[in-house]
Structure formats: structure tokens, C-alpha cells
């Protein structure tokens, strides 16, 4: 049984993260620049839970060699990561404020910069899992205890390289690697079952002999249980299949492919979104 207070605390932080995500979306939209809003909202509860409760890092020494790694393989989910990194103190809030300004170092996809918590450059799909396999493998070779987490999209699993990565993680017995599949059922062109029906994601990963854990990707209590170390199995990598809703938390974004990547997230929409999240226009930063 997870601590109710902890659950409440993470839920509240996730609400703040969504508010900050909306602010980033508005910064992009007000300049008529596109941002992946739905893919970010989809992963917020996962990234918040990981950074608040599981990842081992030192904000005073962000490049500490023994830190846990988190790789956002579905790089277009970045709006669901920058605000989390800021909230935990890895990424200065000022950088968020300057998002999409000309001199900003924050791109629309992650760019390797461990100083601010970005562990790999991603964006083209199907790369991050294999990079994570390399990092986890190096930990095994060097007999280090850190854990590597990698978040992939369900649409991303259309990429053949994902399955190459899956095979190699199992072969090298990477029990220090946890993959998370953001199973939101919607990709750029439409519903995943229409674009490339992958049937049961759990059965697929399971058939490659991974340790498969299914969870609700928005329920903090379920996520806390899913990521619990006691679920890990010796010599076997773990995958957490997290059922999510693309655009979660903002009704007009939910399951709406228009918000996969949108250029017209204006102030009116932002205020509407903030109200739904329990914030006011004055909370826009």
C-alpha cells in the first residue's frame, strides 16, 4: 500500500507540471511555432512519478557518474519532461521562460545535456531504447549499480529498431534497464490500431521474454506500485506498459490528434486549459 500523502503530493506536482506545460505550449503557439502538446501531456504522470520517487540524481552534481539515467526515446514528448526537470531543480526555471526564444538551448526535442538532465539527443524515433541498452550495458561492464529508464511511445514501436533493442537487452540480461511504453493509442496520423495495429503490446514484449508490468499511466498509486524495485526480476529487463490518454488533463486535447503537434495554441486555449487544471490566467508564467 502506497503512502496516501505521497500520492497526493505527486498528483499535485503533476498538476503544476501540466500547468507549466501549458505555459510552454503557449510560448510556442503565441509565436506560431509548433509544439507537441498531446504527447507531452500523455507522459506527465510517468515522468513526475519517476523523478519524484525513483530516479537517483544529485542536482548539485548532475553529471555524477552513478546517477540513474532517464532517456526520452519518444523525444516529441519533451513538453512532459522540461517542466519536470525544472521542478526537481535540474533545469533552471529561467530556461523554461525562454523556451523557443532565439537563443534558447531548449529545442522541441531533447538535446544531449546531462548538466540539465537530458541524457540523450532523440527525436527520430526508434533510437532511444538502443542508446539506453548501451548505457545499461556499460553499467554492467563497470559493475555499477545505477538504473536506466527509457520511455518509448506505442507508435514508436512501429520502428523496427525498437525490436532490435528489445532483443539485445534481453540477450545481455539487462535487469538494470526499465522501458516504459506510453500506450496512448494515438499517433500522428490517427489511432494506432488503424495506422499499424500492434495488437497486444504486453504480449509482444512478453514474447521477447521481458518482465512485463501493466499499469494505468495516469494513476500515481498504480505507477508507484509498477516502478517498485521489488517487481524487478534478476537478469531480465522490465517493461512497464502504461495505459495513457494522449492529451491527458485538458479535455479538448484528449484523444485529439490535432494536438499531436499544434501551432495554434493561443492564449484563449491556454486559459481554458489552465481553468480545467484548476489554475487561473494570472498563473501564466
Amino acid at each position: 500500500m502506497n503512502d496516501k500523502k505521497k500520492i497526493k503530493e505527486i498528483e499535485e506536482i503533476a498538476r503544476v507540471i501540466r500547468k507549466n506545460l501549458v505555459c510552454l505550449a503557449l510560448k510556442a503557439g503565441s509565436q506560431k511555432r509548433g509544439a507537441h502538446i498531446g504527447p507531452g501531456l500523455s507522459i506527465v504522470d510517468i515522468t513526475t512519478t519517476l523523478y519524484m520517487n525513483f530516479l537517483n540524481y544529485d542536482i548539485k552534481n548532475p553529471t555524477w557518474p552513478d546517477r540513474d539515467r532517464f532517456i526520452l526515446s519518444k523525444g516529441h514528448g519533451i513538453l512532459g519532461l522540461y517542466p519536470v526537470l525544472a521542478e526537481v531543480g535540474l533545469l533552471p526555471f529561467d530556461l523554461l521562460k525562454g523556451f523557443y526564444n532565439e537563443e534558447s538551448i531548449l529545442a522541441g526535442h531533447p538535446v544531449l545535456n546531462p548538466e540539465i538532465g537530458i541524457e540523450a539527443s532523440t527525436g527520430s524515433l526508434g533510437h532511444g531504447l538502443s542508446i539506453a541498452v548501451g548505457i545499461a550495458l556499460s553499467a554492467k561492464i563497470d559493475k555499477k549499480d545505477f538504473h536506466t529508464y527509457v520511455l518509448v511511445g506505442d507508435g514508436e514501436c512501429n520502428e523496427g529498431t525498437i525490436w532490435e533493442g528489445i532483443m539485445s537487452a534481453r540477450k545481455y540480461r539487462l535487469d538494470n534497464l526499465t522501458a516504459i511504453v506510453d500506450l496512448n493509442g494515438l499517433q500522428a496520423d490517427g489511432f494506432t490500431e488503424d495506422i499499424m495495429d500492434m495488437d497486444s503490446m504486453s504480449a509482444k514484449w512478453g514474447s521477447f521474454k521481458w518482465n512485463v508490468i501493466n499499469t494505468d499511466g495516469h494513476d500515481i498509486n498504480s505507477l508507484l506500485s509498477a516502478f517498485d524495485k521489488k517487481n524487478r526480476v534478476k537478469d531480465i529487463p522490465t517493461v512497464i506498459i502504461a495505459s495513457t490518454t494522449k492529451g491527458k488533463g485538458i479535455s479538448f486535447c484528449e484523444n485529439n490528434k490535432v494536438y499531436h503537434h499544434s501551432r495554434d495554441f493561443d492564449r484563449e486555449k491556454a486559459v481554458c486549459a489552465l481553468n480545467e487544471l484548476g489554475f487561473k490566467e494570472g498563473d501564466i508564467r
Partner: protein, 326 residues
């Protein structure tokens, strides 16, 4: 740094590029515990089986999955490892192109990409196994050095330089055994510094890989006609030795580039870029393979002959080129 005796140099060249790489990586692995070798089901062909037996925990076999191999190497390198990934030149640079660009070069990872059997070395295996676009691809990716040694001593020596260099490198190797000896005696090589093998006042022949040997032969034939050639071994195609090209442009009336590669984007193109960028007025003759698929399957030697990458034809083209100069 290992020094080679004359007989050892001959032996290296007798065994070929693959064996020389396999021997070299084993020696490097012995002194550098951070070196990891990755394979994609071509460990025999890349001659890393001895490495795999000697350093079981530093050898990663990923099966027939070049893209995954390259990305895994980038991950290992992000944790401080020096990775060597080997496979056929074409499989690495074409299939793995995006992994090389995004995961290895964009992240400036310490990964060495070793492409064996480049050019037409896989003669009988057909177009899918020819590596004729690799220089063009590798050259266009930022952060990536492109090396193409002419014989096995230069490979053995440059391999240590590559291992010491922190950053991504594409190492282009030819295939076969009994490689013509360019360097009879031990010497050092520096990445980015081409080697003048012969001095000559009339033309400058820049060649890379196996074409260096043909260029030397062509130069000796031309000498009989009192055409004196400077012959330059371009073992590093990127960064290109700009200084050597500027000198050649000023001192000789024709620059010749010879490569076993598509004429688009290779050594000749790199030299043309230097000529254009520095406002040089030199004439350039590019000798390489045509921009079309080669539907001929024969021994490497026979294909080189058929497509004019032998001294006799190089001489003919140079004489034609010189006529056009007047």
C-alpha cells in the same frame, strides 16, 4: 606505439586489411580497458574473434542489426567507453546512416565505425555489397572524421591514432589479401596530414585507399613520357588536407583525384570544394566510378580493370586531361 620491421610490414600486407584490423584492435584492447568491440554477425569477417575470446566482457555481439549496434555503441560511449563497430562499409553507412548521424555524431560519441570491403571489394557479391557511396555519406556528417588507408602499415599505425582520438571516426577499408606495399618501412602517420610519396613538377595525383598503389604505377609510366607526377596518399579524407591541395594547385598544372568510389561526393569532390573555396584556378581531373549501378559481378581486380581504376587507364585519362589544359 608498436614499431614494425620490414618483414612484419610485408606480412601485414600479405594478410590484408581485415587481418591487420583484427590484429591491431587486439593490441589496442590489451592496453586500453575502455575499448569495446561491437559486432553485427560479421565478427569473423572483421577479424574480431580473437578480441572476443580475449576480452569476453568487452565484446558485444548484436546479431544482424547494424542500426542497433551503432546506437548501442553510442550509449556505451556516453558512459565513457571507446567503441569500435565493424561491418561491411555499405551496411554501416547506408543502413546505419541515421544512427551514425544522430546517435554517434550529433552526440559526439567516441565511436569508431569500421567499414570493411569498401568499393568493389565484394566483387562477386553484387551491388548490395558494394560500398561506393560511403565517403560521400560520411563526409557530409558533422563531427565525423573519414579515414581511408592505402596499405596495411598505414592502417596499423592510424588505428592507434583513431583509438587515441576522442570522437567519431569512419574508417574505410578495402578487402582482399596481398595488398600492394606503399610503405616499406615503419613510419608515423598523423590524422589529417596527407603523405607525399613522390615529388613531381607537372601534375599532382591525390589518391586514397588501394588507388594510391595505382597512382604510383601511373606516375612511373608517365615518367617515361617525361611527365613528372607528385603522388599524394590521402589517408584522411575528412578533414581534407587543404594545405596540400593549395600547394599542388600552385605548383602543378593539373590535379588528379583517384578513388574507388562514386564520382559524386568522394575524394574528387572534396578536392573540388577546396579549389572552389580558395579561389584556386587549378584544373581538376576526377577519376572514379560512374554515377550508375554496376551490373557486373567479377573479381575485385577484374572490376577495377573494367571500370578503369588501374594505372594504364589512369595514365590515359591524365594524358587526355593534360591535352585539355592547353
Amino acid at each position: 606505439m608498436i614499431k614494425y620491421r620490414k618483414d612484419e610490414i610485408e606480412e601485414l600486407n600479405r594478410t590484408g586489411f581485415r587481418d591487420t584490423f583484427g590484429k591491431g584492435i587486439l593490441e589496442i584492447g590489451e592496453v586500453d580497458p575502455d575499448v569495446i568491440v561491437l559486432a553485427a554477425d560479421l565478427s569473423d569477417a572483421t577479424r574480431v574473434t580473437k578480441f572476443s575470446e580475449s576480452f569476453t566482457d568487452r565484446y558485444v555481439q548484436l546479431g544482424i542489426a547494424e542500426q542497433n549496434m551503432l546506437s548501442v555503441a553510442s550509449g556505451l560511449s556516453l558512459s565513457g567507453k571507446t567503441c569500435f563497430c565493424g561491418s561491411f562499409a555499405t551496411f554501416l553507412t547506408l543502413r546505419g546512416c541515421e544512427q551514425i548521424r544522430n546517435d554517434i555524431c550529433y552526440q559526439n560519441c567516441n565511436v569508431k565505425i569500421v567499414g570493411i570491403d569498401s568499393g568493389l571489394a565484394n566483387g562477386f557479391l553484387g551491388v548490395t555489397h558494394y560500398g561506393l557511396e560511403d565517403i560521400a555519406i560520411a563526409r557530409s556528417i558533422p563531427n565525423l572524421l573519414v579515414l581511408s588507408p592505402s596499405d596495411c602499415l598505414s592502417l596499423a599505425k592510424l588505428l592507434w591514432e583513431i583509438a587515441r582520438y576522442k570522437g567519431p571516426v569512419y574508417l574505410r577499408l578495402s578487402g582482399g589479401k596481398s595488398i600492394p606495399v606503399i610503405y616499406k618501412e615503419d613510419r608515423e602517420f598523423k590524422i589529417g596530414e596527407s603523405v607525399v610519396l613522390e615529388e613531381g613538377k607537372d601534375i599532382s595525383i591525390f589518391a586514397t585507399g588501394l588507388m594510391v598503389s595505382e597512382a604510383l604505377k601511373a606516375a612511373s609510366i608517365l615518367k617515361k613520357d617525361r611527365i613528372y607526377s607528385k603522388v599524394i596518399d590521402v589517408h584522411t579524407i575528412k578533414p581534407i588536407d587543404t594545405k596540400a591541395i593549395i600547394v599542388a594547385a600552385k605548383e602543378t598544372e593539373l590535379i588528379v583525384a583517384v578513388e574507388e568510389h562514386n564520382l559524386t561526393g568522394g575524394l574528387g569532390s572534396a578536392i573540388a570544394e577546396v579549389i572552389a573555396d580558395h579561389g584556386l584556378s587549378s584544373r581538376l581531373l576526377r577519376i572514379g566510378l560512374p554515377d550508375k549501378f554496376i551490373h557486373k559481378y567479377n573479381s575485385h581486380k577484374a572490376l577495377l580493370e573494367k571500370y578503369g581504376l588501374v594505372s594504364k587507364n589512369i595514365v590515359k585519362k591524365i594524358i587526355e586531361g593534360l591535352r585539355k589544359c592547353y
